[in-house]
């Protein structure tokens, strides 16, 4: 039997295989920063500054005693917490700086609410 494999399909297949094999390798190279954050009565327990390194993958496990909408300034990311449950906030720390996380009040454009905690992302 003489099978003729179309060249283009082979290349695409090869690419998909390589991509799936290589992606986890690349991801495992990236440092992961895992932090647990407890919020009770509108304040964070313990230190209110978390130090992370730039280029890492950030995993924030946030547990709050009420349903809140958190806003990470600068990165402009939002997270809704669930009362009494742990919620994971995941993003890549692409830019260095000191960023405030505050409770976002729906409907207001400005963030006059107090800062809950800071993320300090240090350059490598």
């Amino acid at each position: 039997m003489n099978l003729i494999y179309p060249r283009r399909q082979v290349l695409i297949l090869l690419y998909i295989v390589l991509a799936t094999v290589l992606t986890p390798i690349k991801a495992s190279d990236e440092k992961v920063n895992l932090q647990y954050i407890e919020i009770a009565k509108g304040t964070v327990s313990g230190a209110n500054t978390f130090k992370l390194s730039q280029g890492s993958k950030v995993l924030l496990n946030v547990r709050a005693d009420e349903t809140l909408s958190l806003h990470l300034h600068g990165y402009n990311l939002y997270l809704d917490t669930l009362a009494g449950k742990e919620v994971r906030w995941q993003f890549s720390a692409h830019t260095a700086g000191r960023f405030a996380v505050s409770i976002h009040e729906k409907g207001s454009k400005r963030h006059e609410s107090h800062t809950l905690f800071y993320l300090e992302i240090y350059p490598q």
Binding site: T49, Q54, H73, G74, Y75, H94, T95, A96, G97, R98, F99, A100, K109, R110, E112, T115, Y118, E120, I121, Y122, P123
Partner: protein, 495 residues
């Protein structure tokens, strides 16, 4: 006759004090967020050590005569032989300044009143106030070329002289003869207006509202033009127009100078040399400016937060504070206002103390006011270096707000240049670059400051031992001042 003299200082002081205790709700300091990382401990210590070491090497070995710092002028462009071209260029710059001035007013009065939808707040506070200070210090003083208050005053004078030539001669004579600038007033108008301006900028929450900005500009214009009418355009410009004084002062540090049709290159800081002692009010103006620069940073440190907490929890003050709060006074604004008043006084006292020590050490026993007036300019590079390090990333990040606003300055939903969808790119500044440039500029500013004071001392005293002795207290003061700047930069920003 002396008894009849009315000193407006106390009137203005009273007004400022009254304003400072009026109840206002506080929304946190100047808009535009900051994402600066604190300066790392190792960089902080390295810079501090370098500052101390270089100070003494400079003071003892390097500067033996004033020549180091004098007259290295390189003329880059000479238009003095082409008056027509120079006049046209200056006219265009002045026109640009006036149009921008009218535009900012129009946006403030007629545009959308949301701070972030209106061109005026970002333009005035970020581009003009912070940006022009950078430009003046790092490139050159352009404010004197674009100052709209000066341009419009000159224009009205020109119009007046063109259309009423008969009366002009009498008028001018009358103005020049009957109202010379009073000597006792010296730079006091600028001291008072700078104090009011700094309160409006740093403490008053209303400073972000477009309409308020426009109203303040109108009030300030009235103050400038009435003064110019009474005392002569340039008299009032030099003694009372605070932005002229500030940007000219910063511009004296700059490497480029523009004068009499020439663009010249010089060593940074060389323009800050002086050949006479400044009057006390001028020294106070500079001290006030320097304290405002540092005050802004101090208000963002955790130390300030703990000071506020300590005040709030003090048993001694509690009854008074509670009473004030019940009357609707915003306590934080009140404490900040008191601090804003005290900061320049404290800095002035410390400065005078070290001036006294300097004059005692040299054995010359010069009056303290005069010593203060001799060395006042040498403090400017330290403040500028701090200002540049503190605001670099702010200017580059918050300054981007102007990009979408250019397309829709009034907030009417226009998209003139197709930039309304620009989002702030917070990655434009590299954190490490900000750290290293901060350390570099702080150390360089300090070196220039020490050199300037030394050069001045070489002109005052002719004995090398006297020069050396007079400089020791000043070097200690400068090290302390520079370390304060470094310390503020090493603190996390808390808002």
């Amino acid at each position: 006759m002396k008894a009849n003299r009315f000193n407006p200082f106390w009137l203005w002081f009273g007004i400022a004090l009254l304003l400072s205790i009026l109840p206002f709700r506080l929304y946190g300091h100047a808009f535009g967020e900051r994402y600066d990382l604190p300066l790392p401990m190792n960089l902080y210590l390295a810079a501090a050590a370098l500052v101390v070491l270089l100070s003494f090497i400079l003071a003892t070995y390097i500067i033996r005569d004033g020549k180091v710092f004098k007259h290295y002028h390189l003329t880059l462009l000479d238009l003095s032989s082409q008056p027509a071209l120079t006049t046209t260029l200056i006219f265009l710059l002045r026109l640009f300044g006036v149009l921008l001035f009218l535009f900012v007013l129009a946006c403030g009065f007629f545009g959308d009143q949301d701070t972030f939808n209106n061109f005026s707040p970002t333009f005035v506070w970020v581009i003009w106030w912070v940006g022009l200070a950078f430009f003046s210090a790092l490139i050159g003083n352009v404010w004197s070329l674009i100052n709209p208050w000066l341009s419009l005053a000159l224009l009205s004078k020109w119009l007046y002289s063109t259309f009423s030539e008969k009366e002009l001669h009498d008028q001018q004579n009358r103005l020049n003869k009957t109202r010379p600038y009073p000597k006792w007033l010296s730079a006091w108008p600028s001291v008072i207006s700078l104090l009011i301006f700094s309160w409006l900028e740093l403490i008053w929450p209303g400073s972000e509202k477009p309409m308020n900005i426009a109203i303040l500009i109108v009030l300030y214009s009235a103050y400038i033009w009435v003064g110019m009418y009474c005392f002569g355009i340039y008299n009032w410009l030099h003694h009372a127009e605070i932005f002229n004084r500030i940007f000219t002062l910063f511009g004296r540090f700059a490497p480029f100078s523009f004068s009499s049709g020439k663009v010249q290159l010089r060593l940074p800081g060389t323009g800050l040399t002086n050949d006479h002692a400044e009057r006390f009010s001028s020294s106070l103006f500079i001290i006030l400016l320097l304290s405002i620069v540092s005050f802004d940073g101090l208000l963002e440190t955790p130390l300030w937060q703990s000071v506020l907490d300590a005040i709030a929890q003090s048993e001694f003050l509690r009854p008074t504070l509670l009473d004030l709060q019940n009357r609707g006074v915003d306590l934080i604004a009140l404490i900040k206002s008191v601090a804003l008043m005290l900061a320049p006084l404290l800095l002035m006292l410390v400065y005078l103390l070290f001036c006294k020590l300097s004059s005692m050490a040299s054995g010359s026993y010069m009056p303290i006011e005069e010593v203060a007036g001799q060395y006042i300019y040498s403090l400017v590079p330290i403040a500028l270096a701090y200002h540049i390090s503190h605001y670099l990333s702010y200017l580059l990040i918050a300054g981007q707000q102007i990009i979408p606003l250019i397309s829709d300055p009034f907030g009417f939903g226009w998209n003139l240049f197709n930039t309304t969808h620009h989002h702030l790119d917070i990655s434009v500044v590299n954190a490490k670059m900000v750290w290293y440039s901060a350390v570099f500029s702080i150390v360089l500013g300090h070196i220039i400051a020490v050199t300037l004071a030394h050069v001045r001392a070489l002109q005052i005293y002719h004995n090398r031992v006297q020069v050396f002795k007079s400089q020791l207290p000043l070097v200690v003061l400068m090290i302390a001042y520079t370390l304060l700047s470094l310390w503020i930069l090493s603190q996390p920003i808390v808002e």
